[in-house]
Amino acid sequence: MKQVTYAPNTEAVQKSVLTSIGNMMMFQEGNNGRPLPWFFCFGTLLEFIADRTFGLNYDIDVGVMYDDCDSRRLMKSVEGFGYQLDSYVLHDVDRRPLNVHFKPVAEAIKGTPELDVYFWIRSGKMLYHTYDVNREKSSILSKYVFKGVKAEWLQPGPDTIKSVMASVWGRERVFTNQGVWQYDIFGDHSGYKFPCPWKYGTLLDEWYQGWRDRKYYKGQSMSRWVKTVKSCKDL
């Protein structure tokens, strides 16, 4: 009988996964030549904020900005870290990814979490994400369901960034000049940082009402701002 090794949800494995993701994102550049801002979102963010854990039992959800990201470079980078492309949703006009799902390669330890990258696309004062909501199993969808949040929740303005950087958070390097919180997840100053979006509490209120005790949590994130379009250009 074939023996299967499962990745235990231990601190060592969490650190290993966090290092992989951190390294793969570290070398991405935004359009302005600076490091690409990225953050954990959805279920990964919920587990961290509500339970103070980095759980590996579910897919890991990562967010980046659609306009700022060289998606091809990012996808190559992820594949270089032991993941393979499993499925993706493309913008029907730009043909750039809006959501990419990665699975660990066959040689990876069983139980290594899968990775979901969401490319947040701006429309006015909102940022939207999408994925294959209706399970069309196609990269170009017949119908795109976009769920939005206020852009300021994910991307603080330059004045806000300046003001927070000037405070103790900037001095202690808990807040970056890209508007992302960087928390020392293990509390041991070992350098393992968990990046959280600017208004993480507000985002969790929006996505998972009752998130504190999982009262209404049904797995899928919610949003008051849902747009269903036949083409992404209509967003």
């Binding site: 904020i49 927070v164 103790v168 958070w169 808990v174 807040f175 919180w181 928390y183 020392d184 959280c196 208004k199 993480y200 509490g201 507000t202 985002l203 969790l204 209120d205 009402q209 009752g210 998130w211 504190r212 005790d213």
Partner: protein
Amino acid sequence: MPFFDKEKKTKAVEELAKIMACAERAGISHAVFIGFGVLLGIIREKDFIGNDSDMDICINADKITPEQELAYYKELKAAGLFLARRKHAFRDVEPGFRRSAVIPGADNRPTRFSWFSLRMRAGYPKCCNWFWFKWNGYYWHSKGHKWVTQRKFDKERYGWRPGDAAILKGIPADFIESLETIRFYGIKVNIPTKYGSCLDFWYPGWWMPKGGSSSKKIIAIVDTWKTSKKWRITVI
């Protein structure tokens, strides 16, 4: 040494239970909720925050009558909750005028509280009661004229003038309009449904412990309580 050690927590729970019982008897439980540091502790640590030094009870004053407000005050007094501390500020007191809580206002109706602070006994935590009201899309709380000082609000930055009746701190109205009931140390209390939004607003970066009071992002200067025509809002 953290303020809320095991002994202080026991006293805080006792005091909180008595306060909530008074709110129930006064018929205002539906409008009372936990805010600020205790809310942060409930969400982040599921407990009181060790280095917090007091409790904050918030009351949506728009959901209760002036008579109920006064009844609540009298219930607290009768329950001995003001024995070690009793301070208050009112919402209809012009500068230079001193008022007692039991004196009716100009129209013979009970006065409206802005805030009062209590402590039932030495060694028990101070508990502030904030009476929030809605104006111009925000809910406001205040210590009334007690906040019109340089020590509390920098004059240049916030633009207050000597003689102003009060300085208010605001929060977007929808953040605290809806409440949900939870149990904290077995006591039934309300918290805002949008607790994450409240914490982001009051304590940016709240996941990681850091001392300090809630942020001063939305401020209103009240020149006179008689009319809100000339109140000035500053968004920092």
